[in-house]
């Protein structure tokens, strides 16, 4: 049996071995290019097969397809999604979202509360606690929430890996024009994030009054 010192020695050798090994800076671009190439090949193969098999049927279905393209995209009324991803927030591409949780001056926001629990198959899920009608924030309330959200210490991990059941508060900020910004705050453990920037108000994870008021309303 190997003594721990042997294992530590191997561990140290392996880490020493890869010192100075770095991935190419364009690895992400190469991955996306590779993925697009794979998709094109797959789509080409499937498309060719589909065209051969459904040639006649395509002509019959054409009028229906034309109708569907006329569908217009209308702005949905504010609502809370029935579930949101656990442990991650979709990053916003709004300028400044990498420097402050809520960049600029949002014109309105909605707040929704979620219960995070573990499904029978072991995957965590966040389901809406209240109705789909969200708490809507405008004016002084909105300004108070934005001011509170821009105060946490940045760099704190957002994940809450050990907790199996806890609540999350999701805030979605609308600017009238341009991308929205979503901020999710854990109510069980410290950590909140807008997908790009993470932080915490304090190690205990307690939230400022402007935010706790929203949870009470929910």
């Amino acid at each position: 049996m190997n003594t721990p010192s042997h294992e530590d020695e191997i561990r140290s050798l392996l880490h020493h071995e890869v010192e100075g090994v770095h991935a190419s800076a364009d690895l992400d671009a190469r991955v996306f290019r590779g993925a697009r190439r794979v998709r094109r090949v797959k789509a080409g193969t499937i498309g060719a097969m589909a065209l051969l098999a459904m040639g006649g049927l395509l002509l019959v279905a054409l009028p229906k397809a034309q109708t569907s393209t006329e569908a217009t995209v209308r702005a949905a009324p504010p609502h809370c999604p029935t579930s949101i991803p656990v442990g991650s927030v979709t990053p916003s591409h709004r300028e400044g979202a990498d420097r402050t949780l809520v960049p600029g001056t949002p014109t309105a926001a909605v707040a929704c509360t979620y219960q995070v629990s573990t499904a029978s198959d072991g995957t965590p899920q966040a389901t809406l606690v209240t109705s789909k009608a969200p708490v809507q924030l405008t004016g002084a309330t909105l300004n108070g929430v934005v001011a509170a959200l821009n105060q946490p210490v940045h760099g704190y991990a957002f994940r809450c890996p050990s907790a199996r059941s806890y609540r999350e508060l999701m805030l979605r900020f609308d600017y009238g024009a341009g991308p929205q910004v979503t901020v999710v705050a854990n109510l069980h453990c410290p950590g909140l994030s807008n997908g790009t920037l993470s932080g915490a108000f304090n190690p205990q994870g307690t939230l400022p009054p402007a935010l706790t008021a929203l949870i009470t309303k929910n």
């Binding site: 294992e7 050798l13 991935a23 190419s24 991955v31 590779g34 991803p85 979709t90 890996p161 997908g195």
Partner: protein, 179 residues
């Protein structure tokens, strides 16, 4: 005008930027060649990307990526036997560590280690990387390799023993050479 990346794409690109060195280093220890390591990681990430919306919601994203890395490495080994890398780290451009003249001994030690790693069976190398580079518990390594914890233990013990034997032999040879 350049296309703005979709949120999922931006999210995945962020993951790649954060973990690319870590993944390429693990792949380098598996393959022994930087170019092969990069190709392997690229293939892994191309496989992961279509499933990213689901994967990113997992508690342990890295575990999924590591599993794919090991799986694709095993597949590539079955197709092509791992080649022993040159004892000269600079020969084929695979070694990227800058080395000063006074680091000659360190470079030789690294070359020895790479040769020793190359002499291990691919599965033993995978166990070493999972256990001692990625620092995964035996149970998680067993899960990724789809084998029992006992197998991980025995393969790790054999690999460590073999590496130590190689290093002892090299040290003895060096001593004889210098006396």
């Amino acid at each position: 005008m350049a296309r703005a990346p979709r949120p999922a794409e931006a999210d995945f690109a962020e993951y790649i930027r954060a973990r690319r060195d870590h993944l390429v280093r693990a792949a380098y220890l598996l393959t022994g060649d930087l170019h092969q390591a990069e190709d392997l990681v690229q293939t892994v990430l191309v496989r992961v990307w279509p499933r990213w919306p689901k994967i990113k919601e997992m508690e342990n994203v890295d575990a999924y990526v590591h599993r794919t890395l090991i799986s694709l490495f095993s597949t590539s080994v079955r197709r092509r036997r791992w080649r022993e890398v040159s004892a000269d780290p600079q020969q084929d451009g695979t070694w990227t560590t800058p080395t000063a003249p006074d680091q000659t001994m360190a470079v030789e030690a690294r070359a020895d280690l790479r040769t020793a790693l190359g002499s291990l069976a691919p599965r033993q190398r995978a166990v070493l990387v999972l256990r001692y580079y990625l620092d995964l518990p035996e149970a998680e390594a067993a899960d990724i390799l789809a084998c029992s914890v006992g197998t991980v233990k025995s393969q790790a013990a054999k690999a460590v023993k073999r590496l130590r034997e190689r290093q002892t032999n090299n040290a003895l040879t060096d001593e004889r050479g210098t006396t």
